[in-house]
């Protein structure tokens, strides 16, 4: 069943090598709409067993390499470039934040983590928060859905500070106002500059702010 399509694709690759590259059959935009990985036949067969046969157990006379391409989930230009960049790597970023939090502040292991995301788009901020909560739980931390609150006066004062000083100030106010208890810790995920596509994170515990990423 699988031999015929493989034979056809083999012939096709000889007659039209580098079919995926821009040329008569594909525009540059089409070539840019996919993400491709070069794999050996064995790896490709593990990832796509329905399409690719594994190499024979005794091996072959030559090594086959395949280029596996996947379409982007969302068409280019449909979302803001920064949103797209953040969401493309969100799972890895969230895992990295959870790992850094546990590594940098091991003393907070027994606490319940709350998560805040400071991002211009509310919809994306929600996704960031959810992903970070999941990653913290996967790392074995207790996670709460609560969020610490500030009074209106605090918000007025903090809004007059520089953005970087405001995080430490807010953390101090959380502790003093009772917004966070002794058994709580806060992970805040932040974008500090509109030009960055990388999420940063800090931990607030006992009124002390610390950047972890």
């Amino acid at each position: 069943m699988m031999a015929f399509p493989q034979f056809v694709s083999g012939i096709f690759s000889i007659v039209f090598p580098s079919f995926g590259a821009p040329g008569v059959f594909r525009t540059k935009a089409q070539a840019r709409s996919v993400i491709c990985t070069r794999l050996e036949q064995r790896q490709a067969a593990q990832q796509h067993p329905d399409r690719i046969e594994p190499p024979p157990p005794r091996g072959e006379y030559f090594t086959r390499n395949l280029e596996v391409c996947t379409e982007r989930l969302v068409r280019a230009g449909l979302r803001e470039a920064r949103d797209e960049a953040v969401l493309m790597s969100l799972e890895d970023t969230a895992r990295d934040i959870a790992r850094a939090t546990r590594g940098v502040r091991p003393d907070l292991a027994h606490r319940t983590f709350q998560v805040e995301a400071h991002y211009p788009s509310g919809a994306v901020a929600g996704k960031i928060r959810f992903a970070t909560q999941n990653a913290l739980m996967s790392a074995g931390a207790s996670v709460s859905d609560k969020r610490p609150l500030l009074t209106a006066e605090d918000v007025v004062v903090l809004s007059q500070l520089s953005p970087d000083a405001a995080y430490a100030g807010a953390c101090e106010r959380y502790a003093r106002s009772g917004g966070m208890g002794d058994q709580d810790a806060l992970v805040a995920v932040i974008v500090r500059d509109p030009r960055q596509t990388d999420l940063q994170a800090g931990v607030c515990a006992d009124g002390r702010w610390m950047w972890v990423r």
Binding site: G23, R38, A76, M88, Q196, R208
Partner: protein, 251 residues
């Protein structure tokens, strides 16, 4: 003598004509090279940083281009020069190296007291280029020869470009690997066909014949490098802002 005088005189002319036609054929085939570039992963990811803006004001960056087996020191020097200019245009102070600056400066931490008059750099950008696969497709060469280059001969090259950004003490701030492919098609047929499509059908940014491939590759690579270094800069600043916290583990 079996040849007449006239035929003897003609012989050098025939050889010259043959040579000329051979040279003309080679020139025709070479001039009919169409180079295309396809980003495979990372190079065409979305980015926000505009490389024409001063994104690295007051920042000292060392750029270290690592020569490898398939990437000679001279090529590394050219890459370093271009990337150095890229960051200088964004208001950074740049120094370039094709040997490990840690060894050149005699310390393991990329800086320190004897790391030069200026002290350690703010960021060290390490670039490593590798050619991971080159395909010559001999069937297309044979077909091209048989059809007087109407069918193109195809050659492709897959490459990776890795970038690692550290701070002046060697602390890892950011890293990325970009993969791409350059395909070269030789022949009159492919050159003519694509030229006609460029003129009649394709929009300007979709043109294939000419320097479009190099331009697109440079735009992608320099854009991504600017973005990853900017992200590293933001992390570096955040880590500089805080005083160390003494972590205490409760029993």
């Amino acid at each position: 003598m079996p040849y007449s005088e006239a035929s003897i005189r003609r012989t050098p002319q025939s050889a010259a004509t043959q040579h000329l036609s051979l040279v003309a054929g080679v020139v025709l085939a070479v001039s009919g090279c169409v180079r295309t570039y396809q980003p495979l992963s990372g190079l065409h990811d979305p980015r926000v940083v505009d490389p024409t803006q001063p994104n690295f004001t007051d920042l000292r960056i060392d750029v270290y281009c690592v020569p490898t087996k398939g990437f000679r020191a001279s090529q590394a020097a050219v890459l370093c020069q271009r990337v150095g200019m890229l960051f200088e245009n964004q208001a950074a102070t740049v120094e370039t190296f094709t040997q490990d600056p840690r060894q050149l400066m005699g310390d393991a931490g990329l800086g320190g007291a004897d790391g030069g008059e200026l002290g350690p750099p703010d960021l060290v950008v390490e670039l490593r280029s590798d050619e991971i696969h080159t395909g010559y497709h001999p069937v297309t060469y044979a077909l091209s020869w048989m059809t007087i280059t109407i069918v193109p001969a195809v050659r492709e090259m897959n490459f990776t470009q890795s970038v690692i950004v550290r701070d002046g003490t060697g602390f890892l701030l950011s890293e990325a690997t970009y993969r791409g492919k350059v395909v070269e098609r030789f022949g009159v047929g492919t050159w003519g066909g694509n030229k006609i499509l460029d003129v009649l059908v394709r929009e300007d940014h979709e043109d294939i014949v000419g320097e479009g491939a190099n331009r697109d590759l440079s735009a992608d690579l320099y854009g991504q490098l600017s973005q990853v270094v900017f992200n590293a800069r933001m992390r570096h600043e955040a880590l500089q802002m805080q005083a160390p916290v003494q972590a205490t583990v409760r029993p």
